[in-house]
Amino acid sequence: MSTVLDVKGLNCPLPILRTKKAIKDIAVDAVLEVHATDPGSVKDMEAFCKQTGNELMSTAEAGGVYTFQIKRKG
């Protein structure tokens, strides 16, 4: 069971800002699933997770929607 964050239609930097907010609200080791339409978010989620130490478990794309699964660390 993961929490879902919908940032479809939002542009840089909102997907990252909303992700940061949402990840603070879930438990450590819980998973946040983010749905975005910003193509830049593919690289940005990677960089965000690398910098914050959270784990980007998967990235997928279907019909112009990017789905990221991020596990909260620390």
Binding site: G9, L10, N11, C12, P13, L14, I16, L17, T19, K20, D38, A47, F48, Q51, T52, G53
Partner: protein, 162 residues
Amino acid sequence: MAVNGKSMSIIVTKGSLDWAYPPFILATTAAAMDLDVTLFFTFYGLTLLKKKLDLKVTTLGNAAMEMPMMGGHMAMPNLMGALPGMDAMATAMMKDLIKKKGVASIEDLRDAAADCGVRMIACQMTMDLFEYNQADMIGGIEYAGAATYIETATQCDINLFI
């Protein structure tokens, strides 16, 4: 000190609608990535700390500016940009695009910056120079000068001038 020990400072010198974006986008994103962030607002950048924002964009002296229009892009010759009403038109077009493309407003980004603890410093000299009143500025900011910025910058991993 930030969680990961990294930090960034930006000197914000410009206060038009287009130039307001880079500092606030970078500041909020860096804060979201656990960096300590300081923004130092000086000269025209200081207007970005006013309670009431009325940001505009101009085509004048901005030869690379082009707006998407009817499937193409439209640029504005400088001579036409000087005509009355052109700045208002360009500003309206830009704000319309911002809304349509899901780009945050500067007001929203500034609120987000304050929420996530971005330190904002208003240049006291510019306050005096342009006769700004602290009552006209948002709360939660500091008033200081170059020495404060330099002291902060010596401790930052990233220092930018925008």
